[in-house]
Symmetry: C2
Subunit: 472 residues, 2 copies
Amino acid sequence: MSPELAARFAALVSARDVLDADAAKPKLSEPRGLYRGKAALVLTPRSTEEVAAIVRLAHETGTVVVPQGGNTGLVGGQTPDGSGEAILLSTAKLDRIREVDAEGDLMVVEAGVTLARAQDAAAEVGRLFPLSLGSEGTCTVGGNVATNAGGTAVLAYGNTRDLVLGVEAVLPDGRIWNGLRRLRKDNTGYDLKHLFIGSEGSLGIVTAVVLKLFPAPRETATAFVGLASPHAALELFRIARAHAGPALTGCEIIPRIGIEFALKHLDGARDPLAEPHPWNLLLELSSPLSVGLAATMEAILEEGFSKDILQDATIAASGDQAAAFWRIRMGLSEVQGHEGGSIKHDVSVPLGSVAVFIEEATAAVEAHAPGARVVAFGHLGDGNIHFNVSQPVGADKATFLAGWDAMNRVAHAVVHAHHGSVAAEHGVGRLKRNLLREVKTDVELDLMRMVKKALDPKGLFNPGVILEETQS
Amino acid sequence: MSPELAARFAALVSARDVLDADAAKPKLSEPRGLYRGKAALVLTPRSTEEVAAIVRLAHETGTVVVPQGGNTGLVGGQTPDGSGEAILLSTAKLDRIREVDAEGDLMVVEAGVTLARAQDAAAEVGRLFPLSLGSEGTCTVGGNVATNAGGTAVLAYGNTRDLVLGVEAVLPDGRIWNGLRRLRKDNTGYDLKHLFIGSEGSLGIVTAVVLKLFPAPRETATAFVGLASPHAALELFRIARAHAGPALTGCEIIPRIGIEFALKHLDGARDPLAEPHPWNLLLELSSPLSVGLAATMEAILEEGFSKDILQDATIAASGDQAAAFWRIRMGLSEVQGHEGGSIKHDVSVPLGSVAVFIEEATAAVEAHAPGARVVAFGHLGDGNIHFNVSQPVGADKATFLAGWDAMNRVAHAVVHAHHGSVAAEHGVGRLKRNLLREVKTDVELDLMRMVKKALDPKGLFNPGVILEETQS
């Protein structure tokens, strides 16, 4: 980029919002260091109008724009390429909570508000904003929307997509689309917000959203269960869902090796059960109903015992104990980092196939890489498994990680056999765009390109993310 | 259309699927007779492949295609224009339930399956398919998807959009998009199903869908409440939602005049309460939890009484009594037909504004048309009111109905003041396309046109529905 053009961009925001090299650096690589990029400028505009001015100039001058939220994405969708020609447009300072309307069960927040702040703003008025994920202290609502983030509350509340009533976005030509609707029902034509949600910044940049709020739960019951197999876990999920319906708000599977990693690497972690079990299920019921959910949890566990599905179970006697159960679950990604290299698969399969998927994929991976340690955990009730593979004990990390793509092929073949997704909740980004050909027909890829071309004919918004770059 | 071309279309299906004039006639006007059209051919293909063959020929020859489901739509979206050049493509014989997977909590049904059959198929395996609306015996799942149908269960289960996991559609160029995914989480790029859902047949034709199933409720508690005002109804809704959360599965407001119409015109209808009240609320709790929902309902009503929100209330003592409450609610459209002309407004406003909307719109309409009888009823908990206006007693029906657009302008002005929707759950069709300019910015209309042009560049699919016709 010419100094003249850079100066024109810089003039669109205040001087403190043109980041210097030190401030820019952490935004130019993603957390695991898989992607590093360069940018002509890193800008942190403070208003939708400033964003629009930047994008208009980019459109006029053919400049690439890469939007970035909290920079916690795991697929490289927030990192510019190495050319140094792009504008990195950070939403960090679009950080106002514009309104919290408890009576209307909604709030209007800007894209750069962290998820934790959004949750807190809801809690302050006695409401629940249910989206919850490991990076919630850092990730932003805009990033959650751009990636249609999932997390641990999808079972009862849906993905981010299901929590959004309205969207404000700057389109690739610099126009502002004010779609900040507050309506539960609105059938006035194509529902455009769903195009932007999950588009990973490739169709424009989301600057603010209207989010749904829910009644805060009055009661919670949490249980930690030991089981023999993923099949038993799936059976118990079905029992729990039949008993509790939407009050089943968490159903996370954890393998024994995950417990062992946690006991070894998480300060103060304790085994929730007296004996080790091959598999565990973390069950959470919660509801605004004041109805003794503990009794429902007991009924679920009793039915599980009577059908020989359970080996052991404990119900949390306090909020602290429930938090300790969840800490093991939420620490699983971190503890794997202490066990050397880990090759990840963020996959989903239809609910009915999740147990057989875990068994088949484990067998396939163990045959492919003897000694590799499968750590398959996560959102059983959504059919979404984080099928991670830790390196063999004592193996060389770099050598193990060099086999990333080959390992992916082995695990994804099992996903494909069950008509699953290879990008269940983290998105496609740059990491997985080559995989789309395996899971999408030509017709669908073509539809996606038609949409991209219609909204971003110059291909300036996050090129190379989701779809391969095409010549404009 | 030339006889030669008509013969080419007819040859794509079996002879019995080319309807003769008698069989075609009921499909060429919509139920209220507001729209009547002509078609070169009315075809009832029996497979997705037959649909695709028809659409390919239409694409090749520049022939307009109008998709039609159960022909229950209220906005003229299913009726061809008067030119007689279009193919009316009825999904009536795409009527297979391809699969019901109770364990996976899903079913795969073709577009022409009636909603009632889909509900029954779910119930047969002990599951709930919650979509529920007045025309469910006749309307089809494909039509529900095309219009993103709402109904009485949106409060707890969402609109049709929220109940669809996957879509199979024939695109305007005749290609089949198989998007019949069965996944609860899938972030592999743009979520194209949301483009087709609610597109009213203007972007292609949905031929089959994967629908979510839910646990069947074990318990239901239903109450009929008398109140002084819509404000009191909204306050009671908030109390109910705080107590019951997702177990609040129905919250319908009914004005006194609606009860009176029902008592007069519905066989065997009885007033649920001893005394008349200006407003009534039908509350339903249901849940798979076995927890004594009656106690929760009592707690809701007690809080309502203690805060002087309620005037009277009765809890249904039996399923029959609950059904009698619902019969009054579901009969409200029909009974208005016995009271002369009725001008309809299918509108929504943000939840917090629904009570003041009813009051303001009623005052505006009564000032505009003295003697006109406002019958404002419906889905209070969704902010979606069927703001219908019955003619003054003894007035001339045709004269009254001639004031449809003027009346709309008066009521819609109040909708606009509250940033509401003028097409909340019935869609846009031909009836409301002129209204979109009032509720959409130019940017949004332009986005919609960009999408239409990208998917249907020749403008052959349901032209004039949602968007005004454009020259291709």
